[in-house]
């Protein structure tokens, strides 16, 4: 069993809901990204997502798209990201999954990309724009390298398509909490229906919900149904704001993550 799956199953046994923060690699620089991951581990984050900057991230709203654009302008590459992640003191804390566009995976080559990710001691990959007809090849290579693949399920994914996506997911399924791009929203995530539909296909596969989840209240609402809640734009926005104020973003983000993790842990206390 892959690490990601183990972490989710352990959390499930104790009733904890997991909070998965998202960081853009190299925002504002790769050494800060590594420090942010360390800080996340310190406040109890068990799985984190690192987005590999891409020139055309169509699933991302303005906050994350801008952070990726700036990282690219500063010269951040997948190779440099892998090197920085490999050099962490403890690459398993938190277990790290890379969010990466198929454009990058295809160009570097599936074999070469998976090998580099494994060498960087990543725990998994999320490929948000995979063509499902070629997902099998990537999943097989990831299985062989003990990397957990995750793909997206949308509010509109149903029937045979849902079954096919779920069958390709290994560590968890990434459930989009709403249509549209990444970004904060005011409402509470409504995922009960899709969670039930996924569980009907595979009752053991962990489900992490993302898109539009930013506050402790939204995290709690997502974790009513899902095993994990992914928080991205709110964190990236905070990093940008700290940087604009010429402050190190790590302390503010650590504090933010602590309150989000507490919201997730509260589910265990209640259960």
């Amino acid at each position: 069993m892959n690490t990601i799956r183990e972490i989710f199953e352990s959390a499930r046994r104790t009733g904890r809901g997991l909070v998965l923060p998202f960081f853009t690699a190299g925002d504002p620089d790769l050494s800060t990204t590594v420090r942010l991951l360390d800080a996340a581990a310190e406040v109890g984050v068990e799985i984190a997502e690192v987005g590999i900057p891409f020139s055309d991230p169509i699933a991302d709203g303005p906050i994350i798209a801008e952070s990726m654009h700036e990282a690219l302008v500063r010269g951040v590459t997948p190779s440099a990201t892998f090197e920085a992640l490999a050099a962490r003191r403890d690459p398993a804390r938190p277990a790290t999954v890379a969010m990466v566009s198929m454009s990058i995976v295809h160009r570097m080559g599936v074999d070469a990309f998976v090998a580099s990710a494994a060498r960087a001691r990543l725990a998994g990959l999320i490929v948000p724009d995979i063509d499902l007809t070629v997902a099998g090849e990537l999943t097989a290579r990831c299985d062989a390298a003990n990397l957990a693949c995750a793909y997206l399920v949308a509010p509109t994914t149903t029937g045979e398509r849902l079954r096919r996506v779920v069958s390709q997911c290994r560590g968890f399924v990434y459930l989009l909490a709403r249509a549209g791009v990444t970004g904060e929203s005011s409402g509470l995530p409504e995922i009960a229906g899709q969670v039930a539909a996924i569980r009907a296909i595979d009752s053991t596969l962990p489900i992490a919900a993302g898109f539009g989840i930013a506050t402790p209240e939204q995290v709690r609402a997502a974790l009513e149904h899902a095993d994990g809640a992914i928080v991205g734009s709110a964190i990236v926005r905070r990093i940008g704001a700290e940087r604009a104020a010429h402050r190190d973003p790590v302390p503010a983000v650590r504090e933010m993550l602590a309150s989000l993790v507490a919201a997730g842990a509260a589910r265990g206390a209640r259960a």
Binding site: A59, H106, R107, M108, D129, V134, G180
Partner: protein, 407 residues
């Protein structure tokens, strides 16, 4: 009149396979949110394509509103000056709004209405597709929002005003490189959150399945007309058909009906820009390699990590790092020859066609004119070379004035 859409069961125009692939190219590399919308679009299009009343309506509008069929003009003085084959011009510049783009926007807008969509979005580079979309939306009373890179908004102020005159809202895109590829990103982002009531009219034979097939089909009226006009006028098929290729919609439109005619040589002309180094041209079929951009696998200009490269062309309509997947398929299968013309080549051809034929072509078209002339020179007078004059050059005269003045 030539039928507006390929007739049902037309084996000369195979679409993509069930997975949306032309050979290994194409597909659907998109966030899952768009998949249901693409399925809905594919199903609605398949059904509309079979419906005689839909076909009749498209045909009526192409005739009464667009002014089809467009004429075939023998370029007598140009042919004489070149001293080779007889050059014939397919006059898409005479279509309403001055370019072939309207063939697609009329078809897709009608399809959107049929699907019950009330809002249309589109991306545009130079503004030609934006204007053609705004035109169709004004005609059908659909709300229209066009995404356009901030850089292009500045360069193409007149087209921005034309779109606004026809009631469209133009969104200035300030993300990324602020040009066509970023406008396309923004349109896709909008569509992810608005698929319920919104249709995205993609302007070229690019993007995820079924767009490359739909756009090609709506543009294939150019090739069907051209084929029957040649048979009627000359009693035979042309020897060569030449078209410029950016995303590749005018080329796909004129090539597709000739693909099964093995005697007809098909030539696509990319933008060679100012040099062969990455960043100096916009010619993915000539200098790129297969990669994923905007939802499909096709030849693309990328760096070694898959990041989309910067591109350059004097022609805003060709200034795009990708190309339609069916062109990639035609390239690899050898059915179509792809070459390129530089900025300087295009500028010369622009002036030559104006001087010899009284036709000012778009800068995009001028690339095809240049290559067609090179080919015509090597052929006897009884050979027929068709150029798809994809658009008129009024939009470019100011830019050409600037470029000629600078030289």
């Amino acid at each position: 009149m030539t039928s507006a859409l390929p007739v049902a069961g037309d084996q000369t125009l195979p679409g993509a396979d069930a997975d949306g692939r032309f050979g290994r190219f194409g597909g659907r590399y998109v966030p899952e949110t768009l998949v249901a919308a693409l399925d809905e679009l594919a199903a609605a299009y398949a059904e509309a394509r079979r419906d005689p009343s839909f076909r009749d309506e498209v045909e009526r509008l192409l005739r009464e509103f667009v002014g089809r069929p467009t004429q075939l003009t023998v370029a007598t003085r140009l042919s004489h000056e070149i001293g080779g084959a007889t050059i014939v011009l397919k006059r898409e510049d005479l279509a309403h709004t001055g370019a072939h783009k309207i063939n697609n926007t009329i078809g897709q807008a009608l399809l959107a209405k049929r699907m019950g969509k009330t809002r249309i979005i589109a991306e545009t580079g130079a503004g030609q597709h934006g204007v053609a979309t705004a035109t169709a939306c004004a005609k059908f009373g659909l709300a229209c929002e066009v995404y356009m890179g901030a850089e292009d908004v500045r360069r193409q102020a007149l087209n921005v005003f034309r779109m606004r005159l026809m009631g469209a809202t133009v969104h200035e895109v300030t993300t990324g490189s602020r040009t066509l590829k970023d406008a396309t990103n923004e349109a896709m982002r909008d569509w992810m959150g608005s698929v319920g009531k919104t249709h995205y009219i993609l302007g070229s034979v690019v993007g995820p399945h079924p767009f490359p097939t739909i756009v090609r089909d709506f543009q294939s009226v150019i090739g069907r007309e051209c084929r029957s006009q040649c048979l009627e006028r000359f009693g035979r098929l042309p020897d060569v058909v030449v078209a410029c290729v950016g995303g590749g919609s005018n080329a796909a439109g004129i090539f597709a009906p000739f693909v099964a005619d093995q005697s007809v040589k098909l030539v696509g002309v990319e933008a060679g820009g100012r040099g062969t180094a990455q960043g100096d041209h916009a010619a993915p079929l000539s200098f790129g390699q297969p990669g994923v951009l905007h939802g499909s696998l096709s030849y693309v200009l990328q760096d070694r990590f898959g990041q989309t490269a910067d591109v350059h062309s004097c022609s805003a309509g060709l200034d795009y790092p990708g190309v339609g997947p069916e062109h990639s398929y035609w390239k690899d299968s050898g059915r179509v020859d792809y070459t390129y013309a530089t900025d300087a080549d295009a500028l010369s051809a622009f002036q030559l066609l104006a001087r010899t034929e009284g036709i000012i072509p778009a800068l995009e078209t001028s690339h095809a004119v240049h290559s067609a002339i090179s080919i015509a020179r090597t052929l006897p007078r009884d050979a027929l070379v068709v150029i798809n004059v994809s658009g008129r050059g009024d939009k470019d005269v100011q830019e050409v004035m600037r470029l000629l003045g600078a030289r």
